[in-house]
Symmetry: C2
Subunit: 207 residues, 2 copies
């Protein structure tokens, strides 16, 4: 007997906390997607959210290559995915390749915050997606140089992550048992005492 | 004649877009803070939001050293700030130093996504702060090795950013004219056509 989408969400979503925006707890990284396309107007909202992220010297180093299922862009991103991700992510209705410019445009100096800022902008994408009832799954596991070559991405851009995007689908659609097990296993996070300090390794009072 | 906090927000906040969570447009990086402390229960909400960010192999590489004004922690973070940031950020009611573990705990291999993931977790902090009516300002400009030494941060952690946090204050409290000018200058972001592609440098249809 497999779990319904609703039951999987009950397992995966973090408990709501009063005063905390619900999206932070609603968001989790599914692997099963409905075969339902994403409206362009909704996709636009994700990048509109990302666009306003802060960045070092307001460089906005983030660039996103976006492909819907059936397009050459989607096919190329999917082809670059590493072994384990090949088993599920190519079925996502949308794949997004995020890369970051590693030099500052105002002086060509190296930008040590390129990936940091891409991480922030992509956080906006995945949170806004959760707010719209979609699910996302970021992957570092792909052939970085293969993807670079497939799209002709210049060497001063660092490869970031591929994000799978869609509406959460039935667990059974994943087929393989190892994927189904992952999709229904509980999530875990460190308690605040392990990440919020007042001095190194000393939990802050609030933690 | 100086602008009120309300007028500055009108200048700085991005125009709302229907269907996009308001925090993305409300958030901007102020430099003027009220001398009003932050309740621990509210600080806790910021890190609760951050805690649920996704990360490579669920490593959760983020660590935050947090100090309220008047504490030794705050004094040490403030002391590390670089020239320009020294002029305003030490007055922030809270300073947060974010660092990232650069090796995976499960196998000690290098984690190329440590800063990317710190950027995502910090994005949750600044968005949740905006939702609670606070303002934040992230800074890369600080003495990284000085801060590392001041807190005894091990070499396998990468220095990230210092975030100033508080309630937005009156522009005039900044004193210096160059700071006041920055606090009231318009913000800008690239249009979607420059960051969302279907092939390299080819704007996606949605952009």
């Amino acid at each position: 007997m497999t779990l319904t989408v609703h039951e999987v969400n009950d397992l995966k979503q973090a408990p709501a906390v009063e005063g905390v925006l619900p999206v932070f707890h609603k968001r989790w990284s599914a692997r099963a997607f409905q075969q339902r396309s994403i409206r362009e107007a909704d996709l636009q909202k994700l990048f509109e959210a990302a666009r306003w992220a802060p960045s070092a010297f307001n460089e906005q180093p983030w660039r996103f290559i976006v492909g819907a299922a059936g397009t050459e862009t989607h096919r190329r991103i999917a082809a670059a995915l590493a072994g384990f991700n090949q088993a599920w992510a190519p079925k996502a209705p949308v794949l997004i390749l995020g890369v970051a410019k590693t030099t500052f445009s105002h002086n060509n100096a190296p930008n040590a915050y390129a990936l940091y800022d891409l991480g922030a902008a992509t956080a906006s994408i995945v949170l806004q997606a959760a707010a719209l009832g979609m699910t996302t799954h970021q992957m570092a596991g792909f052939d970085h140089e293969g993807a670079r070559e497939a799209f002709g991405i210049p060497s001063d851009y660092a490869m970031g992550v591929v994000t799978a995007l869609g509406y959460q689908g039935e667990v059974a659609s994943l087929g393989e048992q190892r994927l189904i097990a992952q999709e229904t296993s509980p999530r875990s996070r460190k308690p605040l005492g392990e990440i919020v300090f007042s001095a190194w390794n000393e939990p802050a009072a609030l933690a």
